[in-house]
């Protein structure tokens, strides 16, 4: 069993690591070590240098100054494959799967089983089955194309792929952010098994309760420096948060207004689509934040897409201010009499044009507002961009830089700012805080409340129940394409949401 061995040898040690990107220091003289058999959390805000650190360890980034030792031996990886051969395997936040290949192909991609030099499809399939079984994903058929899997299944395939490389150091970068609750439990169990096998797990997560529960060692980074490393329990959560952001944080969530009845403004009536939405009834009033809860994949995303005009063949009725509307495309949704905005699920593919500038991305949904005739008016453009950056306090160097150069939290702010420029009446948010840091999350919560107070109707899907509890005036919990429970006022708490998500509650508030 687990005899609390803090005596595990350092398997990986970094000395005086520094790395700059076009003049900006991302890591400054970082010393860091990680023991084998430990589950080690790396905490820090966006831009603290966590990603840079793990990219150096896993061979993605080079050159850098300083030295790295693995089992006491100095190493310098020139590619991710070299690091993987040495036993350092990273599960990245941006998925590293090939959508057009099958699950089995993907899992064995870097070193497939071979017969006579050619890939042995059958052995590869068995291998995939075994690895998927280990993480309780027997439902995933190894012959399916990754393209056809949901985001949460893809993430599990990603984990299976990493396991297949027999890691000695496993790095998880926000690896649980897209998972369903059941899968999260599986991953927790897996980390325990790996610990018993003396594998070191390095864990980056913005979910504090996850870190509290899983990790034995914590390291805090801020502005490219390693602030401190300590054992679990040595510091209080408030202290940790203070170390991360360098300032005190009082309330996590802005003050909610007292529970009240708001006149319905945006009404969803018996909405159906394929077999994913089975008669959704929901209303959102002006000034209200309505949360969508439930386990991942119960139709929440489809509901938001249907409201935004992305889905074909939607049944039922949507009304705004009493008038039926039926947006047929995002363009129609955004330019209709009732303007609708959607902050999409995946900011890298649906939210942003990564190679384009911050300014272009900010204006992407509202070019019509900054143009005179067919041409974009550079004066108006500049004013609008500055306004957007100021309003959301986006940390940018120059507005003409590619949006890809921003940190995750700032990228998400760009997506939100882009949609605010269209002056929407209804704002749909699809898990807007996924994979971003605590500080930015809090800014987003505050902004949501301000927008509600301005009279916007907000529908907010989140996989983080604490967020729903903290932010929403009402929470609708979805299960298998229907809304099973609506919670209001003081009835909104994590227990109630969890119970409703699993569809096990008996006292449904009609």
């Amino acid at each position: 069993m687990s005899d609390k061995t803090s005596a595990g040898m350092p398997i990986i040690e970094l000395r005086g690591i520094s790395k700059s990107f076009s003049g900006a220091r991302a890591l400054k003289e970082v010393d860091f070590s990680c023991r084998s058999g430990s589950t080690h959390a790396i905490l820090g805000e966006n831009g603290a240098g966590k990603s840079t650190l793990i990219k150096i360890m896993s061979g993605v980034l080079q050159p850098y100054s300083g030295e790295m030792r693995l089992n006491g031996q100095q190493v310098r990886f020139r590619s991710p494959s070299e690091a993987a051969r040495a036993g350092i395997v990273c599960i990245f936040q941006e998925l590293s799967l090939m959508p057009d290949l099958t699950v089995a192909d993907n899992i064995s991609i870097s070193d497939p089983p071979r017969r006579f030099g050619l890939i042995d499809g059958r052995a590869q399939r068995h291998r995939a089955e075994a690895l998927l079984a280990r993480i309780r994903c027997e439902d995933v058929n190894p012959n399916t194309l990754v393209r056809d899997l949901s985001l949460s299944r893809r993430q599990m395939v990603e984990i299976a792929k990493a396991l297949g490389m027999a890691p000695r150091v496993l790095i998880l970068d926000e690896a649980t952010s897209a998972l369903t609750s059941r899968d999260v439990e599986t991953v927790y169990g897996l980390l325990g098994e790996l610990k018993a096998e003396n594998v070191a797990s390095l864990f980056i997560s913005h979910r504090m309760h996850e870190v509290e529960r899983l990790c034995d060692t914590l390291s805090v980074f801020r502005n490219g420096s390693h602030v401190d490393t300590f054992m679990k329990g040595e510091r209080s959560p408030a202290e940790i948060v203070r170390m991360m952001i360098g300032r005190d944080v009082e309330a996590h969530f802005p003050q909610k207004p007292a529970p009240r009845d708001t006149a319905p403004y945006f009404e969803i009536d018996s909405l159906t689509w394929e077999n994913r939405l089975k008669g959704i009834n929901l209303t959102v009033g002006r000034g209200e934040i309505v949360g969508l809860g439930g386990l991942d994949g119960q139709g929440q995303k489809e509901l938001l897409l249907a409201l935004f005009g992305v889905l074909r063949g939607v049944g039922g009725e949507i009304r705004a201010a009493g008038t039926p509307i039926s947006p047929s495309s995002p363009h129609a949704a955004k330019t209709g009499k009732t303007r609708i905005a959607l902050v999409p699920e995946d900011r890298k593919t649906e939210g942003l044009m990564l190679p384009m500038s911050i300014a272009d991305n900010l204006l992407a949904a509202s070019f019509d507002r900054v143009s005179s005739g067919p041409f974009i008016d550079s004066g108006k453009e500049k004013a609008a961009v500055e306004e957007g950056i100021r309003k959301l306090q986006i940390k940018v160097n120059k507005a003409t830089d590619a949006v890809a150069t921003l940190s995750g939290g700032n990228q998400q702010k760009v997506v939100i700012a882009k949609w605010l420029m269209t002056e929407p009446d209804v704002i749909l948010l699809n898990d807007p805080t996924r994979g971003i840091d605590v500080g930015t999350k809090q800014e987003i919560y505050k902004l949501m409340r301000e927008l509600a107070d301005e009279g916007k109707a907000i529908l907010f899907y989140s996989t983080d129940y604490a967020e729903l509890v903290g932010c929403c005036d009402r929470v609708a919990v979805m299960y298998d394409g229907t809304i099973t429970t609506e919670l209001k006022g003081s009835a909104i708490n994590e227990e109630a949401i969890v119970a409703a998500s699993l569809n096990i509650n008996t006292q449904s508030a009609a």
Binding site: A83, D100, L101, R147
Partner: protein
């Protein structure tokens, strides 16, 4: 058995475009044979196979760079260059003939290899690199053969452009009228050559790590890199393989015409048709989906369409117009899937 059925169902679901192309080819070729006065005869099949072979090889060549998400504009030129090389080398004693054939294939492969090296280490777009190297290939071809001509072994020409029976007879391999041989004696040699190259070269490549990497790059290059795949090696191999297939086309063309001809117009037309054949076969121009066998089918469809002009009387002046319209209609079939899409976002993935 059950698992085989499931695998087949999954395969059909995942490659609808390919199975659609096969069905289309079967239908239009059957109708062609029904309408043709001498349909369903070995003679018609042999003639058609001869006309299909070069473009089929080129379509296979084009497939590999397309799977990477690129285009190779030099395939037609490499075919022309290698056919000129063949017209210099492929005659004389059996040993020199064999040597000439090997050299022809090697030179095409080397040219493709060079394309790959320039693309990878020059960090350039394949389309522009191959536009340039294609012109270089034509230049070399003109240098080797300023005027059409050259010599190809006559026996070889006869044996390769006819039925299997004629091949056996030409080289006195065994009694061509043997009873056991009759069921396969009618098969055209060019068809066999195509299948042999597909089975002996393409399928092993597809099942190799390098081949798998080519698909991975076309599917998501960043993810392929992060998975530690040999990106550079796979890209270079892809272009080298394209060069090899193009050289197969060139060698065949030289044997078929018994000469070499540095025809600039022909090279360009073949390159463009190879792209059309790849798309008709169901390979995605975005990369990652498809394969050389599919392109082989696509090339056959393209050729069968042109066969129809022989049996249906149409003003020759209208031929390009009609060919264009039919091609457009055929590729539109591939877009039918978008009618089934219920989530518009899927159209952009």
């Amino acid at each position: 058995m059950e698992s085989f059925k499931n695998a087949l169902a999954a395969s059909i679901r995942q490659s609808r475009a390919f199975y659609g192309a096969v069905a289309l080819l079967v239908i239009i070729y059957l109708v062609y044979n029904i309408l043709h006065p001498h349909g369903f005869s070995s003679a018609v099949l042999v003639q058609n196979a001869n006309e299909m072979a070069a473009i089929a090889f080129l379509a296979m060549a084009q497939t590999v760079p397309v799977l990477l998400g690129g285009l190779d504009l030099s395939v037609g030129a490499v075919m022309t260059l290698t056919s000129c090389i063949a017209s210099e080398l492929v005659h004389g004693s059996p040993a020199t003939i064999l040597f000439g054939m090997v050299m022809t294939l090697l030179s095409g492969t080397a040219f493709g290899l060079l394309n790959g090296i320039i693309v990878v280490y020059g960090r350039l777009q394949p389309i522009i690199v191959t536009l340039a190297t294609g012109a270089i290939a034509i230049g070399l071809a003109l240098f080797i053969r300023p005027k059409p001509g050259g010599e190809i072994d006559a026996d070889l020409n006869w044996a390769v452009t006819n039925s299997l029976r004629d091949l056996v007879e030409t080289y006195h391999l065994f009694n061509p009228d043997a009873g056991w041989f009759a069921p396969v004696a009618w098969i055209p040699v060019p068809l066999l050559a195509l299948l042999a190259v597909a089975v002996l070269v393409w399928i092993p490549f597809r099942k190799s790590v390098t081949g798998r990497t080519v698909y991975a790059i076309g599917s998501a290059e960043g993810a392929a890199y992060m998975s530690g795949l040999p990106i550079n090696r796979a890209k270079i191999a892809a272009f080298a393989l394209a060069g090899f297939f193009a050289a197969c086309g060139g060698l065949y063309l030289a044997i078929q015409t018994s000469s070499g001809n540095a025809d600039v117009m022909q090279a360009g037309a073949y390159t463009l048709n190879s792209i059309a054949a790849v798309v008709l076969g169901g390979t995605s121009l975005l990369g990652g989906i498809g394969g050389a066998i599919a392109s082989l089918v696509g090339a056959c469809i393209l050729r069968v369409i042109s066969f129809y002009f022989r049996i249906v009387s149409i003003d020759p002046l209208l031929q390009p117009l009609i060919e264009g319209l039919v091609l457009l209609a055929a590729v539109s079939l591939g877009a039918l899937r978008t009618l089934r899409v219920k989530n518009n976002l899927d159209l952009f993935r």
